[in-house]
């Protein structure tokens, strides 16, 4: 009896959790007449790709898709390299100012980015970086950097330094020891961290609204999707198809890397 109640609750939670995602894909595949019927259908009775065709052919779709990918990938890669250097200095070296640096990085994790919209806009304007993907990449890099440092430091701290020392005793230089010994062990950490960075940048909405003002071709997918009413009106099928195409890369990455995600979270959060 208790078992039954537990399972029933679990199934209810499962349904509530997955339903919005399922409904998005389902609506995207439904023909318009099914979407507009009074009694909704809960499985794809007459699947169609019409809405995806509408979404993909909407003006600018591929440009925005490419912009999003460029900005996100750029920000994540730069953040990984820069964060790896800083995390290594924090986890493996003793130096004056290290404590203060760690506190600063922690504090930066909670940076009030919404408060910086106006000043960042002014900085971008004064340096001729308005309407530029480079500035957007820079901001996204900085938003993801503190978190990346903290998480990578957690992963690095979990790898015993004796491993590198042993390699160095065997005649490797410090750099080679890092590349051959630590880097492979760090791979899951790098994956988990880049995934979070990817999601943050892929999602970002406020800065792109403020930094891209005249050149509409520099917009990214979130802005485009948020203005779907201007594009599709009340065509919910096309809107859900667009949302699906926007969500799909992240959902696939997440399912694919799910195993590493849990450990990544605890390594970053608990060990700090």
């Amino acid at each position: 009896m208790k078992r039954l109640a537990l399972n029933a609750t679990a199934v209810a939670v499962l349904i509530v959790t997955i339903f919005p995602v399922y409904w998005m894909f389902l609506t995207a595949f439904k023909p318009t007449r099914d979407i507009q019927s009074d009694t909704p259908t809960f499985w794809p009775a007459h699947p169609t790709l019409d809405h995806f065709v509408t979404a993909v052919n909407a003006p600018g779709f591929w440009t925005y898709w490419r912009n999003s990918l460029l900005v996100t990938a750029g920000a994540v890669l730069i953040a990984l390299v820069v964060a790896l250097m800083a995390a290594f200095a924090v986890a493996r070296m003793r130096w004056r100012g290290r404590g203060a640096f760690v506190v600063a990085v922690f504090a930066a994790q909670m940076a009030p980015w919404e408060a910086l919209l106006v000043p960042v806009f002014i900085i971008a304007r004064d340096t001729d970086l308005l309407d530029s993907l480079a500035m957007l990449t820079g901001v996204y890099f900085m938003i993801t950097l503190p978190f990346t440092i903290v998480t990578l430091r957690g992963f690095l701290a979990a790898i015993p330094p004796e491993l590198e020392e042993a390699a160095q005793v065997d005649g490797c230089s410090r750099v080679v020891a890092f590349r051959r010994v630590v880097f492979p062990l760090l791979a899951p950490g790098l994956m988990a961290t880049s995934l979070f960075g990817f999601i943050t940048a892929w999602n970002e909405f406020a800065f792109v609204n403020v930094l891209i003002i005249k050149d509409q071709d520099k917009r990214t997918l979130p802005v485009w999707l948020s203005s779907f009413r201007d594009v599709f009106g009340t065509d919910w099928g096309a809107t859900m198809a667009a949302a699906s195409l926007f969500a799909l890369p992240v959902l696939l990455l997440f399912l694919f890397l799910q195993r590493h995600v849990g450990t990544g979270m605890t390594a970053g959060a608990v060990k700090g």
Partner: protein, 292 residues
């Protein structure tokens, strides 16, 4: 490695440079603007005049700011309590499930967590759509006939409720999976001995589980407070703070003032006050995290 080696400083140089140019400098600038007379004209021409505490005085003297502040407190409290309670429930449930069901539920949580914010927001607009939305259909089918064609986004309280559902739906997976990951680090022997000593489920949670995970609970709660209090895109896309002012929280208020009224000085003052409030609320927590 102790002493004068330049390496650590070279390694952190890019981080420091990035932080100085893209974080510290804008933050100082925002603080300065909040003490200036800074509107459309000053944005274009420059040469903003120092205004002392005028912006803050204007804010604190007006009724609107206090309403928004109260609303933000309510918004944060409702969401964080719901998130932590539901996430704890799910986290405690997960280890008790059979393997297949557990994996299915964890995958579902991962999917909901990964769902991009704007995509989720768009989907919720569709779920709660008045004529064709599946939520209204479900409510009518369950016998709540007043929801026939109910327009959620025309009513302040209803819009607020939809936003709470959206934010809780988006936040529970992260909190639940993090707490579950913490739960798995507690040695099973502890639970067993507590049971053998005759502890009930509630006692085991209060005496064993919670104390063991106190830090993790504090961390999750702190992260959720920040996340919920600063939450902006969902509200902006779904309701733009409306109808009326019903869903205008502090970040939305700051954005509205700056973007719509071109009062960059006042917007910056709101942002600074938000930062101050969050900092005060979280400083104890931050200390604890740094110490460990």
């Amino acid at each position: 490695m102790r002493g004068r080696s330049p390496w650590p400083y070279l390694l952190i140089a890019p981080t420091v440079a990035g932080g100085a140019f893209l974080l510290l400098y804008p933050l100082l600038k925002a603080a300065v603007i909040s003490f200036q007379h800074f509107r459309m004209g000053e944005l274009i021409r420059g040469g903003a005049a120092f205004a002392g505490l005028e912006n803050y005085a204007e804010l604190l003297a007006g009724e609107e700011f206090w309403q928004v502040l109260l609303r933000t407190l309510a918004w944060t409290a409702i969401n964080v309590v719901l998130i932590v309670v539901l996430a704890t429930g799910v986290a405690l449930m997960l280890p008790r499930l059979r393997r297949g069901l557990r994996l299915a539920l964890m995958s579902a949580l991962a999917l909901a967590w990964a769902m991009p914010i704007i995509a989720a927001t768009t989907v919720f607009q569709w779920l709660f759509q008045s004529e064709l939305g599946v939520v209204n259909w479900l409510l009518v089918t369950l016998g709540f006939d007043s929801f026939q064609g109910y327009t959620w986004f025309a009513n302040g309280t209803a819009t607020f409720a939809v936003l709470v559902v959206l934010v809780v739906w988006q936040s529970v997976p992260f909190a639940a999976l993090t707490l579950y990951a913490g739960l798995t680090t507690i040695p099973v022997e502890l639970f067993e001995s507590a049971r053998i000593d005759g502890g009930t489920g509630r006692q085991v949670f209060c005496r064993v589980t919670f104390p063991m995970l106190r830090q993790l609970f504090a961390l999750v709660a702190a992260l959720e407070v920040i996340w919920v209090a600063k939450c902006f895109p969902q509200i902006w896309v779904l309701s733009q703070g409306g109808p009326g002012d019903a869903t205008t929280t502090l970040p939305v208020y700051a954005f509205k003032i700056a973007r719509v009224l071109h009062r960059y000085d006042l917007g910056s003052a709101v942002a600074m006050l938000t930062v101050l409030l969050l900092a005060v609320a979280l400083v104890a927590n931050l200390r604890r995290m740094v110490r460990s």
